[in-house]
């Protein structure tokens, strides 16, 4: 057994790229084993557990066959290699590999089955075996990040983020342009394409109040964080997003072809 007892001073983690810092923290976390030496992952709810399992997949390079038992009693098996989930087989039902010809649909299909396998689970035990494979599997299954995107999960999210941080990070990643506004509607930051931000600014000056009140009237609960998404068509044009968080408001412009990636993220932030 090789034991690495070395410790590394991280210094001020805030000055390191947040993604790297989050990974260092995770790598430094102690691996939990059950009495049989199998690894255990646990989380407060199903979504956090799913994110933990996807992080595990994201950190698996060599081919592995993993038997999983959830604390709900559900059993399933995963073939993992090259940071991809190649196959998911739920006990009592068939395997799921997705269609390699349509990566987005493949990820959604696999993600749905993973959700089904982890339904209401908060802990899983992982029994991992090496899998002999010299084949290139880079076109099979889905990467952990694609699965996370399909489920609206962010594997790099730092712990303890509030709504505003989450919304800001997701809009930075997916929006073409966005404005960050204070409670009085004053612009505090412009994100993304300068041209798009300038157009948003003009729209904001003319219609922000109307958009805010339309959102307030449309929501089931008033005076709580929320989000309004307006569109003209499913596949063409763009979407306008207005979001109201604890510390800020956002007005964002998102291309139609990017909205499918952003919708589950916004759902996770505002509807949970």
């Amino acid at each position: 057994m090789i034991r690495n007892n070395a410790t590394y001073a991280l210094g001020d983690t805030a000055s390191i790229c947040p993604r790297v810092a989050a990974r260092l923290v995770r790598l430094g976390a102690r691996v939990r084993l059950n009495g049989l030496g199998h690894r255990r992952l646990s989380a407060p709810d199903q979504r956090d557990l799913t994110a933990a399992l996807l992080r595990d997949i994201d950190e698996t390079i060599l081919p592995r066959y993993v038997r999983v038992v959830a604390n709900t009693g559900q059993r399933f098996a995963l073939d993992i290699a090259g940071r991809r989930l190649l196959r998911l087989v739920i006990a009592g039902s068939g395997g799921s590999v997705g269609d390699p010809g349509d990566p987005v649909e493949a990820a959604r299909g696999l993600a749905r089955n993973l959700e089904r396998a982890l339904l209401r689970a908060t802990e899983v035990t992982l029994q991992s075996h090496r899998m002999d494979s010299s084949q290139d599997r880079s076109d099979v299954g889905s990467s952990a990040t694609a699965l996370a995107a399909a489920l609206g999960l962010d594997l790099d999210a730092p712990a303890g983020e509030d709504l505003t941080d989450k919304a800001m990070r997701s809009l930075r990643r997916h929006a073409n342009a966005a404005l960050v506004l204070d409670a009085d509607g004053r612009i505090t930051e412009r994100l993304g394409e300068p041209g798009g931000a300038a157009r948003l600014e003009a729209l904001s000056q003319a219609h922000l109040r109307d958009i805010q009140s339309a959102m307030a009237r449309s929501m089931a609960t008033r005076d709580t964080p929320g989000c309004l998404i307006l569109g003209i068509d499913a596949t063409t044009g763009s979407y306008l997003i207005h979001a109201s968080c604890d510390r800020a408001r956002f007005l964002a412009l998102v291309d139609a072809h990017r909205i499918d990636m952003l919708l589950p993220v916004l759902q996770d932030i505002f509807a949970h």
Binding site: L203, R217, S218, C227, L228, D260
Partner: protein, 125 residues
């Protein structure tokens, strides 16, 4: 298939869907609804008014042009515990579908299924 059947089928197809209603945005009335527990008419009317405000409010024309179109055809509101979707038909601009669902529903599935249902309803003579 009748409109009521279409709405029932949509609600049964999408997990977490709590209410589906079909209405007229010009008249601002709900014509037909499907729900496990049918809400009072005033709640349905309020839902229709919300849809009208989001899709046809004072800002709607400017926002539609800003987005590259002539009319807003979809609005989604996300708030704690409930998601609301308002869809306008491409065939008849007064026809609209209103859906409410929980955070267990994938919005993308609801959008796809809702659009197909509304299209079929608007196609009916």
């Amino acid at each position: 298939m009748s409109i009521a059947d279409e709405l029932d089928m949509l609600r049964a197809t999408v997990p977490g869907c709590t209410l589906v209603a079909f209405g007229d945005l010009n008249a601002r009335i709900v014509l037909c609804a499907s729900a496990a527990q049918k809400p009072p008419q005033e709640d349905l009317d309020a839902l229709c008014l919300s849809a009208s405000g989001a899709l046809d409010g004072g800002f709607a024309g400017s926002v539609a042009a800003f987005l590259g179109g002539s009319r807003l055809t979809q609005a989604v509101t996300l708030g704690s515990g409930e998601i609301r979707l308002f869809l306008r038909s491409h065939l008849d601009s007064a026809d609209a579908l209103f859906c409410t669902f929980t955070d267990q529903t994938d919005i993308r599935d609801m959008l796809d299924a809702g659009r197909r249902t509304l299209h079929r309803i608007s196609e009916q003579p």
